[in-house]
Each structure stands twice: as C-alpha cells, then as structure tokens.
C-alpha cells in the first residue's frame, strides 16, 4: 500500500447535513477528509446515507426538488456549494460512475467522448486520442478497439460498466465517484472493474460506495463507515478492518448486521 504520510486532502467535508424533501435528514453533520490519489470506500448498511454523501460531492442531489444541504464541501479548497460555483464545471472535475451502468444509446466512440463533445471539443485527433487513452485506462481498449463505431448497447454488463468508467475518465476529472459500481456485475466482471480501480488510483482520487466488505478491503486505502447518517469511523482500510475502534464498526464488518 502507499505511504500515507505524504497524503494531502483533496475533498474536505465540514459538518455536512443533508435533508430530503419534507425535512427528512439523511446526513447528520459529517466531517471527512478524502486524500488525493487514494481510493476511499464508503461502507455501511442500506439507507445509512453513503450514496447521499457521494452525490453531495458532485451536487447530483441538486436534481431532487426540495432537498437541502447544510455545511461545507471543499474540493481543492473551494466550496462547491458557494453561490459562485458553476455546477457544470464542478461535474467536469468530479466524475461519476453509477450503480446501474448507463451507456448512452450511441456508439462506443461517441459514449467516451460525450463529455468532451458537450464541452465543445471538436479536434478530431484529440478526441480519437482521448478515446484510446480512456479506454486503455478502463482496461477496455483491447476488447472494443475494432468496433468503436458499434452501439455501446451491444456490450456485456461488465464492459458497459468499464465503458462508463472510461467515459468519466475522458473529461479528465480530479475525482471519480463510484456508486456501487459492481453491484450488478458477476464476479469475473467485478474482478476486472476492481483491477481497473486499482490502476486508476495512480492518476485519480476515487471515492467508492460499496456494500461489499471484501471489495472495500481489496480496493481501498481509506474506509469510512457510516451508520444512520453519522460517520462512525474513518481511517486507513487495514486499520479499520483489523482493529476497528467502534463496536458498531466491528459488528458491521464482521457481518453481525447490515
């Protein structure tokens, strides 16, 4: 594992509270620091707020009418909930991969460059270059290089998910958020995606939500355990899994509940 002493925080969460419409509080004041170019896993039982928190990092929750955020999320020192923040720009810096793979009904090529296209990039060489590098980074290049112009909907489930990762990488974000990216995949595809995540760690900061304890321990450097909207424990993955500080964490990771 990497040497954690050189780590610098890229995302700082200060007293983050989140309310769904009707004032149902989903997060009760979270403080967290996500380290740059590390994989941070968010674990916890269903409904504990880990996906909600993840979606606070790229303001995906803005799409929900009537929700409310209190507290601060700083990315590279800038508050993303400040009025001056451009959400579009934020989402370009903070990419996201979803639980259910969601390739657009376009060709593989067009899927990868979607983010660049809408940002106004027209240089064909650059686009082609970016497609190759992104697909290579997502470990999909060898499988699809001969059919880039075919529909992305013809790929297998695992390939689709890696395509979504490639699509997120293509816009060159600082952070990639992953919301249970393997929950709909078979073990073989899961292994490949995990492999990809480990590779990506060299260049990107990754925050991953997972239900799967083994996965968290396999791919992450840091782990945060959430329970009922509270951050119970946060630390380096080996420590959290080997010597959990809290009873609840221990119960959860040893499978006593959740």
């Amino acid at each position: 594992m990497t040497d954690h002493t050189t780590d610098t925080p890229i995302i700082k969460v200060n007293d983050l509270k989140f309310y769904y419409p009707g004032d149902a509080r989903a997060l009760h004041g979270i403080d967290l620091e996500v380290q740059e170019k590390q994989v941070t896993a968010l674990i916890g039982p269903s409904g504990c707020g880990k996906s909600t928190m993840l979606r606070c990092f790229n303001r995906m929750n803005d799409l929900i009418d009537g929700c409310r955020v209190e507290g601060e999320v700083l990315i590279e020192g800038e508050s993303i909930y400040a009025p001056s923040t451009d959400v579009i720009e934020l989402r370009r810096q903070v990419g996201m991969v979803f639980q259910k793979s969601n390739p657009f009904p376009k060709s593989i090529f067009e899927n990868v460059i979607y983010g660049l296209r809408i940002a106004g990039e027209t240089d064909r060489n650059l686009l082609a270059e970016r497609v190759e590098s992104s697909l290579r980074a997502a470990a999909l290049w060898d499988e699809v290089k001969d059919r880039l112009n075919e529909s992305a909907l013809g790929l297998s489930g695992g390939q689709m998910q890696r395509l979504c990762i490639a699509r997120a990488i293509a816009v060159n974000p600082k952070v990639i958020l992953m919301d249970e990216p393997c929950s709909a995949l078979d073990p073989k595809s899961t292994a490949r995606v995990e492999e990809t995540i480990k590779e990506l760690r060299r260049d990107y900061t990754i925050v991953i939500v997972t239900h799967n304890m083994q996965q968290a321990s396999r791919v992450s450097d840091y782990t945060a355990f959430l329970f009922e909207g509270n951050l119970i424990e946060y630390g380096q993955t080996e420590q959290l899994f080997v010597r959990p500080q809290h009873k609840q964490t221990e119960d959860y990771i040893t499978g006593r509940f959740g």
Binding site: M60, I88, R91, Y114, R167
Partner: protein
Amino acid sequence: MASKLKSKNKYWQTGEPMVWLSGAALSLTLLTAVVLLIVIMINGLGVFWPAELQQLKLKDGSQVAGKFLRSEPTSDNTGLRRQYKIANRDVYGLDFRWIDEADIVDENVPEQMLVLERVEHGDFYGMLKGISSGSEQRQTTALSDLEIEIATVKGKFAELSELEEKLIDASYRMEQIRLKIMRLDYDKVSADDPNRQKLISESESLGNQFGTLVELQSRRTEIVRQATATFVTANGKEKEIVLADIFQVYAPNQMTTGDKIVFYLHKLVELFVGEPRESNTEGGLFPAIFGTVMLIFVMSIFSFPLGVIAAVYLREYAKDGVVVRIVRIAVNNLAGIPSIVYGIFGLGFFIYGIGHGIDSLFFPERLPTPTFGTGGLLWASLTLALLTVPVVIVSTEEALGVIPREMREGSYALGATKFQTLVKILLPMASPGIMTGLILAMARAAGEVAPLMITGVVKLAPALALDGNFPFLHLDRKFMHLGFHIYDIGFQSPNVEAAKPMVFVTTLLLVLIVLIMSSVAIRLRNKMKKRYTFGTF
C-alpha cells in the same frame, strides 16, 4: 377419493374464460376491420373492369343494352330482377334500370356494341353508324375508323390546350396587375403617376392579347367540334355525338382478358393522375389525392414541433404540481373534443380572426374580397394541427417519461446542461415514441372531414396549392380532399347511383394513403427503435 392436489378453484377463477373472452374480443375487432376492407376492395377494385355489354330483348319488344350489376328477388318474391347500367343519360333520362327476369325474352353479347366515355352526360352505349368531319360524311361501323378520327381530334385539342395555357397565364398576370392597381388606388397614388400609367398600359396590352387568344380559341374549337359521329342505341335511336366530347371509346365485347387487364391498369393510372369529370363522379382523383397529402403534410409541420416542444416543457421544465397536473388532464381531454368544434374554432379564430387581420394589414385594397380571410389549405391544416397536437403531446410525454433516470444522471454527471441532455440524449431516445404519436396524429388527420368542411375544402378546386406561379406554394387556396370527396359524391351528388363506384374507389384510395403514410412512419420508427433501445443484460 379426493386428491389433495386437486384444484379447488372454480372454473372462472382459473382465468381460462378471461383468455377466451379477450381472444374473442380481439377476433371480433379484427373481423370487422377485415370485413370492412374486403367490402371496400371488392366494390372498389372492380369499378374499372371493362365488363361485357349485354343486349336484352324484352317481352314488349324493346331492346336494352347495358352492364349487368346485380340481381335480387322482386318485391313480390316471384322471381329475380336484375340491375343494369344502361347509360345514355341524355337519351333515356336515367342510366340505371331494374329489369325483371321474367320480362327478358332473349339476351346476347353483340360485338359491335361500344362504350363511349364522354365529357358530359356520362357513358354512352351504342353501335357506330357513321362519321362526319363537318363537310363529308361516310358510313362505317369499324371501331378503328372512329379511333383514328378521335386521335386526330385529340391532336388538335392538344394544340388548343397550349392556347388555353397561354390564356390562363394571361389572366393570372392581368389579375396581378389589377391587384397592383387596386393597391395604388388604396394608397391614393395620383392618376398620372408613371407607375400607374405603366401598369394600365400593360394591362391594356394584356387585355388585347387575351381578346385575340379567346377569339382564336373559340374559332379553332368550333372547327374541331365540327367532327361528329353517329351512333345507334340498342332500341334503334340515332344519336350524333361531337368527337371532341368523347373522352375514350372501347368495345368491351371484343376485348380479350389481356386487353381488359391493360385497360384496367390504364384506368388506374388515370385515377391517380387525372382530373375529375362529370361533377367528380368520373375521371381521376389527382387534385383530391394531392390535397389530402398536402393537408396532412402541412398539418404535421405545425403539429409535430408544437406538440414535442409543449411536451418537453411539461415533462422536463415545468415543476410538477397541481397546475401541471391540471394542464395534463386538459391536454388529454382536448383529444376528446368533437372535431367539428375544432372546425368552428378554426373558422372563428384562424379565418375570421387571423385571416381577416392579415387581410386588413397586408391586402386592405382587396377588401371586402378576402385573401386569407376565407377558408384555405393553411387554415384547414392549422385546425387539424390543433386537433392532433394533444396526441403528439401525450405520446411525447410518455416517451420522455420512460427514459430511465440513470440516462439523465449519466449525462449531467459528465457536465451536460439540461438542454444538452435533452437534445443529445432524451429526444433521440424518445424519438420512437414521438414518431408513434405523429403516426396516430396523421392517421387521425387523414380521416377528419367535418372540420375541413368549414375551413376550406371544396368540391372542385380551380387550382392546386402548388404550381409554377410565384411564390409556388399557395396555402391560401382552397383544396380538395378524399374524405370530403366521399361525402360529396356519395351523398350530395345528383346521380348517386352513378357515383357509387367512385365512392368505393375513393374510400379505397383514402385507406391506401393512410396506410402508405403510416407504414413509412412505422419503418422510420423501427429504425430509430433499433438505434436507441437498450440491450438487455
């Protein structure tokens, strides 16, 4: 012994009757549709078949020649009676006749019997006796002689039609100048204005030209009309017919099956490209076909974007709440308003409101003669667009609604704006559903007649909405329509019996057009579906 596994459900609880019921309902629906189509096809497809002409000798010694149509029991149920088309309206006064079988003494199929399709008075059945070219007369009974003469006359007429084109062009130009002068009058331009002088002199020279053309035409027409032929009807009456009035002549009793097939196909082509004759009961349907297609086309141009954009707003931009829900219900109910109400609205709003407004703004000099303030293709299309827009809205909304949330989120997460997501992801994905809405809208529009009757459809349009005169597309013009045609010739025609075959043909054609337009749209939709639907995993 009662088995534990034996079903304790009553028969009706098993769902079996429901399967039968739903199957029966479907079959019944299909059956009625198929029967309808078969009836239309049997009656419509046979119209142009050159059936043989029978000559009957009756008990009272008279002779009748005609085409057998059908037979049915007599009113006292003692025998059968047959209906014949005996044509020769101008000689007999009626062209259909019921004849009791008991009255028929003898029947044969005379080879010499001819069918003449005339410009006026419907068909003529009779035998050729002689041909006269004005000065000289000769006796002949050969069809070929008559055909040669008719071809000559037609050739002369073709020259005349050139003249006629010149006439139409001249009158169109004169009308334009007249309107320009009216404009000058309206603008109170003085009488000695050079512009006005120029127009007036132009108009005068055109008027002179017009006069000479008319004279030339009437003189030439007179000469052409001198050629006549004499025919004898079945009961021995002689009738002289001007060759120029004969549209087509044939001898069905001499035709082989091959000849008849060629003749039939020829008639079909005429149906598609020809102009109507005989107050629409004969001839082609081209203006009506053109009007129908044009109407649907212009309607789509208005209703498609309007419906899609309205639906996008409702689904994507409007905040879901009571107002949106009320609007949605209102839109759904709009589709259920009787079409005549839309017609009246079109008349009041588009024609009297907007049309009149346009007239008083841009063509005040022509008032009270309306230009846009009267029924026309544009207003009828707009009325139909209004009528079909709810269909497009509802289906577009549904199509947008079924796109999974992940698609939108995926796009937003890559930094797309709402508009980009809409244009690049949502609309393409919704396109098959939107197309379905358009197909339904087109089918509905093609079948509507009631609103058209008060917004610009006419029995006989003087000119098509598309021609060679600037600005080429004349949406203010009145138009013909197949649906109205069916109503008009079937129920408003003075000679309903003669019009009946045409009613079936027109119906068949209308069904065909709807079918063709829908299948083109369906093909398009399937292509889109293939492109934009999900693979399963």
